[in-house]
């Protein structure tokens, strides 16, 4: 059984009071936090969902999960909330770390295999988990420049397991990304990553959106739907994707956020609302049923 399934099926949140009103992006962070394994090392993209996720997990479910950031901060106990964008080479996110090294230093730690998981944001993603964060349109002549891979290419290339986070929108799930900024399973063929020099036994492990969770089929490395939110239908999920994922034998229904998860997230991470403001939908519970309204 895939770890993702076990993790989705059981956990302390089962017993906790359920939230009745939340943004779908808040749901995404909570679900991803439940996938965080205790006693494992994480290289997280600094700031945004990935960092929120591991911080929330450490508070509630995986207290001994260790995370590093691309500026070489190992196992910090940051002072929250962080100032906007000041998530690296800054005092509060560096606080009470076990080691301060550098980007080359942490790149070495990852290259030799000390960092088990990566957690990344994606702008565009294709069925094989390839990520685009560089260009929208026809590179480099038509369209729009985006930020570039930053540290994501190294994480996606060298971490044994990478968790990808993205909003659940048709424009994000594309048959072919406009530009491969960070590698997934490339063309999906066996050994494709090793043929271009990437370390053995690495690659995308899960995709968590504001509506659903995916993993990748072991044989074809094609993205496979594993679970959906309680407030969306399978049709809604598929309708907001520009390609069709593999479907599981059994589709899991994800648990909603708990009051505790949201309280911690809202008070210590998204305190300025910068993250949830970008959500596409708001979800409320109205007599035992979930209602999702576009924002």
């Amino acid at each position: 059984m895939m770890p993702t399934t076990r993790m989705m099926r059981s956990g302390p949140w089962k017993e906790a009071p359920v939230a009745t009103s939340f943004a779908d992006r808040e749901f995404q962070v909570c679900v991803t936090a439940r996938l965080v394994e205790d006693d494992r090392t994480y290289w997280v993209a600094a700031g945004g969902g990935p960092m929120y996720t591991v911080l929330l997990a450490k508070r509630l479910y995986a207290p001994n999960a260790v995370y590093v950031t691309e500026d070489g901060i190992v196992a910090a106990e940051p002072i929250l909330p962080l100032d906007p964008v000041m998530t690296v080479v800054a005092a509060k996110p560096s606080y009470r770390a076990l080691q301060w090294t550098t980007m080359n230093g942490i790149g070495d730690h990852c290259a030799v295999g000390y960092l088990d998981y990566g957690i990344l944001n994606t702008l565009q993603i294709d069925p094989y988990g390839n990520i685009n964060s560089t260009w929208v349109g026809t590179y480099p002549t038509v369209g729009r420049r985006v930020n570039g891979p930053g540290g994501a290419d190294s994480i996606a290339a060298m971490c044994p397991r990478t968790i990808l986070m993205t909003d659940h929108q048709r424009r994000k799930f594309v048959p072919r990304v406009d530009f491969i900024s960070s590698p997934g399973y490339l063309d999906g063929s066996a050994g494709a990553r090793q043929r271009v020099g990437l370390p053995r036994d690495t690659g995308p492990w899960a995709v968590v959106t504001s509506w659903a969770v995916f993993d990748f089929d072991e044989a074809t490395r094609h993205m496979r739907l594993r679970a959906i939110a309680p407030f969306v239908s399978l049709e809604q999920v598929l309708d907001e994707m520009s390609f069709r994922p593999l479907l599981p034998e059994h589709l899991e229904i994800l648990d909603p956020p708990t009051e505790e998860e949201l309280a911690i997230f809202r008070s210590t991470m998204d305190s300025a609302g910068q993250f949830s403001d970008a959500s596409s939908h708001w979800v409320v519970q109205e007599d035992d049923r979930w209602v999702m309204v576009a924002k």
């Binding site: 100032d83 000041m86 080479v89 550098t102 590179y139 570039g148 290419d153 990437l198």
Partner: protein
């Protein structure tokens, strides 16, 4: 292995700064080894050591313990045709492009906005694609005096296609291995917590690639929050990150990372940070530069008149975390 050739499986077609380690050694050989004072103003340092057309690398960035004051001085002096090392740098490249200083960059991470997008589509600005870590590895190669280094990333991406990387048959394992060319910039600008007048420099906290950038670059300009005695350096040589002989200029520049944070010294100016992001995304960088750069002849004048002492004091007060950021 008894085979006598190695296959070059694939090569990126991106332009890259020519690799010539012996030429770099010649440049290093011309630098002084004397323990002389290299203290000068930002204006003098940028005028003397940054030439039009130079490849310029900075460590950290405009918002995070980077040489923000030196970057502003480059724009104030209207340098042109610079090639920027764009590793982990939020807005600095966009500012340099808006200011007309920069016509190409190696990409790790930077934000653009409409202005940079126009520059790209109109061919006024070219980007070569790497990643943050791969650019720091390229600087590391430059700092080791070698021509290239292998990396375990970049392969399979479109970055590879538009970079100077190669995929070769590994000389030891026979497996495909990615290599990237060494980078020896013309000039590195680095902000440090403390330096003596000769350039022996201390940096506290996590970092990106300060030491490698200094050792890999032909010319090195430091801006320092604080100038300390060489006696202090000698009392704790373990704290020295950058050795004096790599340094050409030491600029005493308190708040040299403004509007960014210098950990342990002052917090970032969050309003200013919001302003520059908004300007970038709303095509307002021209006004931003007028307001924060061109309107003033020096950093001191800008900080005094535009920011103001009270604000600076407040930023210092907000730097509540000090442990680990002091000797």
């Amino acid at each position: 292995m008894d085979k006598r050739t190695l296959e070059v499986i694939a090569e990126g077609d991106g332009a890259y700064l020519p690799v010539d380690p012996d030429d770099f050694r010649d440049a290093v050989g011309r630098k002084t080894r004397k323990l002389v004072s290299k203290v000068m103003t930002a204006e003098e340092a940028i005028a003397r050591f940054v030439a039009d057309g130079d490849y310029v690398v900075w460590d950290c960035n405009y918002l995070q313990r980077g040489p923000s004051a030196l970057i502003r001085e480059i724009m104030r002096q209207r340098k042109t045709k610079l090639w920027a090392g764009g590793k982990f740098t939020w807005v600095a490249v966009a500012l340099l492009v808006e200011a007309g200083c920069c016509d190409r960059a190696d990409m790790g991470f930077f934000m653009g906005g409409p202005g940079m997008n126009r520059a790209i589509l109109e061919g006024r600005f070219t980007v070569y694609e790497y990643s943050n870590v791969v650019l720091t590895v390229r600087l590391r190669a430059g700092a080791m005096g070698v021509t290239f280094l292998p990396v375990r990333s970049l392969g399979g991406t479109d970055n590879f296609r538009y970079s100077g990387a190669k995929l070769i048959e590994d000389p030891y394992t026979g497996q495909p291995t990615v290599i990237v060319p060494a980078l020896n910039p013309d000039v590195a600008i680095i902000h440090v917590h403390q330096a003596d007048v000769h350039g022996n420099a201390r940096i506290f906290g996590a970092g990106i690639t300060d030491v490698e950038s200094a050792l890999a670059s032909k010319k090195v300009i430091l801006s320092a929050e604080e100038i300390i005695e060489t006696e202090d350096i000698r009392h704790n040589p373990g704290l020295t990150k950058i050795p004096y002989y790599a340094v050409d200029a030491v600029v005493h520049q308190p708040f040299g990372s403004y509007p960014g944070e210098c950990p342990g010294c002052y917090a970032s100016d969050t309003e200013h940070v919001a302003e520059v992001f908004t300007a970038m995304h709303s095509d307002g960088l021209g006004e931003y530069l007028q307001k924060w750069v061109y309107d003033f002849s020096s950093e001191e004048e800008m900080l005094g008149k535009r920011v103001g002492l009270a604000r600076l004091r407040d930023l210092q007060r907000r730097a509540t975390v000090r442990e680990g950021f002091r000797p």
